[in-house]
């Protein structure tokens, strides 16, 4: 697979944007760091420029060990750190990684009424939307494209955690419905990469309704016998998990992703117990029977391609 062009690489500030405290991935224990394997001199060489003002974006701080990682290395590794953390990536990069030869065509997502409730907390919702749009260059949290995976024509929807925590509001809901419609129209499977803290509170019960509306759209895929594959990425929680993220024909997950209904803080406050290690991580869900496979990012295109091809062969034999 071709390395993605530079201009599609995310700004590190976005790629490593920490989640709100409620859904921050659990910190792993401190480790020597992968650089410790090298001679101390190398380590110093690497560490020094970071302590001075480094050239912008050239060094990325490892969220686990705190070591500095050379950005081209990280890009080469598809934003998976040496310790195996799958960093959050934005839709354009996901499309590049997922589609054959990085070739795809973006599809428009429907526009919706901004701020239907005239919601104001510390800041007006319209202001939050405006700044999210300015920072991300996207209009909302769903990006839609079509192309091929493993030679199979497919529609791919990517939820963008960088846009207000990927939250599910009317725009994301309509994006999902549009994706399902596009898939039905093209007789193509739908693959979604989920990432969200949950519902968009600023849209009140209108956001809650998206749980039902997206579920309806999935029924249209079922009626057309089109595969609906969910790839759970870090983090996927709340109303998103409790609707379309758990209704796939097949559930894949990236390693180490936080996946759950209630956030760990809420659970800890409710039961007043410390949570078991690895709780609500991809591997835990695999063990509990909620996902089919945990797949490293670099293996996803091949695994997806294989699954889609098999399912579509079965489908053709029914149609014939």
């Amino acid at each position: 697979m071709a390395k993605p062009p530079k201009d599609h690489a995310p700004k590190p500030a976005v790629a490593v944007a920490p989640a709100p405290a409620a859904m921050a991935p659990g910190a792993k224990p401190a480790r020597g760091g992968w650089l410790a394997k090298f001679a101390p001199g190398v380590r110093n060489l690497v560490a020094k420029p970071a302590s001075k003002a480094p050239p912008e974006n050239l060094w990325i701080k490892d969220p686990d060990g705190g070591e500095m990682i050379y950005r081209p290395d990280l890009e080469e590794a598809w934003w998976v750190t040496p310790s195996g953390r799958h960093m959050r990536i934005r839709p354009k990069l996901r499309f590049e990684f997922t589609f054959d030869d990085g070739a795809y065509k973006e599809l428009p997502t429907p526009t919706v009424v901004d701020d239907p409730l005239k919601f104001v907390d510390d800041r007006a919702y319209v202001e939050r939307l405006k700044s999210a749009r300015a920072t991300t260059g996207e209009t909302d949290a769903m990006a839609l494209a079509h192309g091929k995976i493993g030679g199979v024509p497919v529609v791919v929807l990517v939820q963008d955690f960088a846009f207000m925590g990927g939250s599910l509001g009317m725009a994301a809901g309509e994006g999902f419905i549009a994706a399902a419609e596009a898939a039905v129209k093209r007789k193509a499977p739908l693959v979604i990469f989920t990432a969200a803290g949950g519902a968009r509170m600023q849209e009140g019960a209108l956001s809650l309704m998206q749980m039902a509306r997206t579920t309806l759209a999935i029924q249209d895929l079922k009626k057309a016998r089109l595969p609906y594959i969910v790839v759970l990425t870090d983090p996927t929680t709340g109303g998103v998990t409790a609707s379309y993220a758990m209704l796939g024909d097949i559930h894949l997950a990236e390693p180490g992703a936080m996946i759950g209904f209630a956030g760990p803080r809420v659970i800890e406050e409710t039961i007043r117990e410390t949570l078991p290690p690895g709780f609500q991580r991809s591997e835990y869900l695999l063990e509990k029977g909620m996902v089919d496979r945990v797949v490293p990012r670099k293996d996803l295109p091949q695994v997806l391609g294989s699954i889609l091809e098999t399912l579509m062969i079965g489908r053709r034999s029914v149609a014939a």
Partner: protein, 323 residues
């Protein structure tokens, strides 16, 4: 239900004080064995009733939240008693356990054979614990799916009653697939080929509520609330201060009046003056009348018409009529 002493909410303090005075006077007057105070007491009772009507005709979103959670508000078991004859409770999800946060079974509603289910919060310490305060675990939603399957199989309408703070956030619930259970329950509701009517009788809290509210018609009691997250939860996330719940309640537009404007609910059932807890029987009958009326309207639709009516209803939300 009426045997317990009246529970007053904060905004009812003036009414509480007045009614305390009336009680005191009536005791004094009894002790004196004279009817001299009757006129005054009648006037005070009239005034208390007036104060209550005024307060309840003008509740804000946070006050409605308190009314919706009122401990003496009729709960699902009361609706069962009042509206369902020959109720036969059916228990268990056939997979792991029976979750009493959601109670369900078969019965007759005003002559119609129905499947009925609802969140039950419980009314005293023991029953609240047994019903887990109306916060369902995966088994509750899986029981709901099982009962909906049965309704479809035997061509019975489904009546659901929604009254939950939300799905239970716990280790076991997560372990056993809380998200999947909620998603499947919502999905089953949407795909039913029989008429379905959901009534939000108290708190419609988040995903735990919509799992039982993906229906042809969604009714709501006048002072009930229906929201994506509790006002406290919203406040603690957005303001980082749970005490701002009142502001969150206003901002999220959670009242029946707000929701009918957004077409999230189809019909408001008016409560007796002073709220459903002032006259539980009146409230229960009013809910029954509304359900009967809606059920009649759905009775001639084919399974396919019922499914597409439901789909159209949910797809339409947010697509028109928003400023």
């Amino acid at each position: 239900m009426t045997a317990a002493p009246r529970h007053y909410l904060d905004f009812e303090r003036p009414i509480a004080e007045l009614e305390a005075k009336i009680d005191e006077l009536s005791k004094l007057s009894e002790a004196a064995g004279a009817g001299g105070m009757t006129g005054e007491m009648d006037a005070m009772r009239l005034r208390a009733g007036q104060l209550r009507r005024e307060a309840y005709s003008n509740l804000d979103a946070w006050q409605k939240t308190q009314v919706a959670r009122h401990p003496q508000r009729p709960h699902f078991v009361n609706y069962l008693d009042g509206l369902i004859d020959e109720f036969v409770e059916l228990r268990g999800d056939r997979k792991f356990a029976d979750d009493q946060s959601i109670v369900g079974g078969l019965g007759r509603f005003r002559g119609n054979a129905v499947v009925v289910m609802g969140h039950e919060k419980g009314a005293d310490t023991a029953s609240r614990v047994r019903h887990n305060f109306g916060m369902a675990r995966p088994e509750g939603y899986r029981k709901a799916v099982r009962l909906m399957d049965m309704a479809e199989q035997f061509n019975l309408p489904v009546l659901t009653f929604v009254d939950t703070p939300g799905a239970y956030p716990g280790v076991g619930a997560e372990e056993r697939g809380q998200s999947e259970a909620i998603a499947r329950s919502t999905e089953r509701g949407l795909t039913l080929g029989v008429p379905s009517i959901a009534t939000v009788t108290g708190e419609g809290g988040s995903g735990g509520a919509i799992a039982l509210a993906a229906a042809n018609r969604v009714l709501i009691l006048e002072h009930s609330i229906y929201s994506v997250i509790s006002p406290e939860g919203c406040a603690s996330i957005l303001w980082r201060d749970g005490a701002r719940a009142k502001d969150a309640a206003e901002a999220m537009k959670i009242t029946a009046e707000d929701l009918i404007g957004l077409k999230i609910v189809d019909r408001i059932v008016l409560e007796p003056p002073g709220g459903a807890h002032s006259d539980p029987q009146g409230a229960i009958e009013a809910v029954g009348d509304a359900i009967e009326d809606e059920l009649r309207k759905l009775s001639n639709l084919s399974p396919e018409q019922l499914r597409s009516q439901r789909a159209d209803r949910f797809y339409a939300i947010g697509r028109a009529g928003l400023a």
